[in-house]
């Protein structure tokens, strides 16, 4: 009985998701197999299970059993298969741990088969039937909880920002440097990730560029996206969208985070069927604009180490952000060493799709990251820059696991290092310093 419930829930979700792009992805594959090497899992171990077409067939088998002429009447002819609970569990594990939704196979498919779309559909089926990784659900629910009751943490957050503001003032040598929180009428709402490391460097950059900005109280990460759960993803995104509308900002800038950027820039307007009254861009695009407009006093000799850049899949292939990081890097270092391949053809680091937050799949993740490790080693880089938090976490783990001896950093960190700042003045940091945080 329980079996049927989980399976039927999963199948209902599949039916509900059947739109034109998903139907095309389910129907068009000719099983030519040229996608194999596009997948970093396959590059890592050459196993059949890691050929993207094989993976997608797992879902297609179930679809055909329901909808295809042969699938219904002569299932073996098209390898159609009834969905049972064991198969559902296997498929769920595959969708969450053996595909990072990097789109490399789609770009390499002669038909343009959108395998990540199918894996997202599978994730949604798994989530609806209680087969999704518990941790992703927990992280998504915690984010939703924060949105329901911001008072729970707002004061703590504002107090933390006040501390950070002092650090900012010391860093940029300007006692008037400010980090405001949810200031109405600011031009820009910056949405960071949890923790100071994605707030302080951008704050210094905004200060240098004389940007009129304010800080969101929410974090940009959206674990609903990884679950393939549009309802939860929308709820998480709506925290920021409502905040931006209330503050009447002209632009929302998302921290260096791949999925957060892709989901807010590209997915959210589709989820909400609405053109927001503000633009959403990645911090990477904005920093590149500042560089091009000459708004940052940069000295590329400040970063003399050999540096390579890892393209986040969500930024490059999903959001078209592959030139901007190079614009920035060429302004902050003279020693950029590109990986091969890079940019739009870059390999996933192995941590995408939420995998980095799932300790139960650590072994798979380390194995799938091997092609990236090889790429990095070949560059001889001492510093690996990534504009995505998931990538940085994965690269950090790969660094330890494979003893790469590199330093992992964000683009903003390098920019700040390259900024010619007035000598850090000894900023008085009294405890009762007047701080402009929040309303």
């Amino acid at each position: 009985m329980a079996d049927n419930t989980a399976v039927s829930k999963a199948l209902q979700v599949l039916e509900r998701q059947l739109n034109r792009p998903l139907m095309a992805a389910l129907q068009v594959c000719a099983r030519c197999g040229v996608c194999a090497e596009a997948c970093h899992y396959y590059v890592a171990d050459g196993e059949l299970e890691h050929v993207p077409a094989y993976r997608a067939e797992e879902l297609r088998k179930v679809y055909r059993r329901k909808h295809d002429f042969f699938g219904k009447h002569l299932p073996n002819w098209v390898n159609a298969q009834d969905l049972d609970e064991a198969t559902l569990e296997k498929m769920a594990e595959m969708a969450f741990s053996e595909c990072t939704l990097c789109r490399r196979c789609t770009f390499n498919c002669p038909m343009g088969v959108d395998t990540p779309l199918m894996m997202r559909a599978l994730r949604a089926m798994a989530t609806a039937s209680g087969k999704a990784p518990e941790i992703l659900e927990m992280l998504a629910d915690a984010a939703i909880e924060k949105g329901k009751d911001p008072a729970m943490f707002r004061d703590l957050f504002v107090a933390q920002v006040a501390e950070m503001e002092k650090e900012l003032q010391a860093l940029v040598g300007d006692p008037n440097a400010r980090i405001t929180v949810e200031r109405e009428g600011a031009r820009v709402l910056y949405v960071a990730l949890a923790g100071a490391h994605t707030i302080l460097p951008p704050a210094a950059i905004f200060w240098a560029a004389k940007e009129d900005w304010t800080l969101s109280i929410y974090e940009a990460a959206n674990y609903g996206v990884f679950l393939g759960d549009t309802a939860r993803a929308k709820t998480i995104a709506s925290r920021i969208i409502d905040e931006a509308k209330a503050l009447k900002v002209q632009e929302v800038i998302v921290a260096e985070c791949g999925h957060a950027c892709a989901s807010l820039v590209w997915d959210a307007p589709i989820w909400f069927q609405e053109q927001f009254p503000f633009r959403v861009r990645s911090l990477v695009e904005v920093m590149a604009e500042y560089v091009q407009q000459g708004r940052l006093p940069l000295d590329p000799s400040a970063n003399p180490e050999a540096i390579t850049y890892h393209d986040s899949c969500n930024l490059a292939r999903t959001s078209g952000i592959y030139r901007e990081p190079r614009v920035i890097l060429n302004a902050v270092t003279t020693n950029l060493r590109e990986m091969t391949p890079n940019g739009l053809e870059n390999y996933c680091c192995g941590g995408g799709g939420g995998l980095v937050a799932l300790p139960e799949y650590d072994d798979k993740r380390m194995k799938a990251g091997k092609p990236k490790v090889d790429q990095i080693r070949k560059t001889g880089a001492e510093i690996v820059v990534a504009a995505c938090e998931n990538c940085r976490l994965q690269l950090g783990d790969l660094n330890a696991h494979y003893s790469m001896n590199v330093q992992i950093t964000a683009l903003a960190d390098l920019v700040v290092k390259a900024m010619r700042l007035p000598k850090s003045v000894a900023v008085p940091l009294p405890n009762a310093a007047a701080v402009a945080v929040g309303e």
Partner: protein, 80 residues
């Protein structure tokens, strides 16, 4: 706010960035018996918002959370 509670387990989350403190904490709590307590020590300020939210959704009880210098200490009691 001196804390009289002596936790059953101490979890070192220093140096971990979001979402790892929450991930590690939830895994550790899973292994506890109901009624046991765990103290987490993190350096990522994000925990000050994330841990209370996690506690609410997971149904565990957050007994205390506070900043001590550069560290964030919190005690969670497993309820079920």
């Amino acid at each position: 706010m001196a804390d009289p509670i002596k936790p059953d387990q101490i979890l070192d989350l220093k140096g971990l960035l979001c979402p790892m403190p929450v991930v590690k904490l939830s895994m550790a709590v899973k292994k506890l018996q109901a009624g046991q307590t765990i103290e987490g020590i993190a350096t990522d300020p994000g925990v000050m918002a994330d841990i209370p939210a996690w506690a609410r959704t997971s149904g565990n009880e957050l007994l205390s959370i506070e900043q001590q210098g550069k560290e964030y200490h919190f005690i969670v009691k497993k309820t079920a």
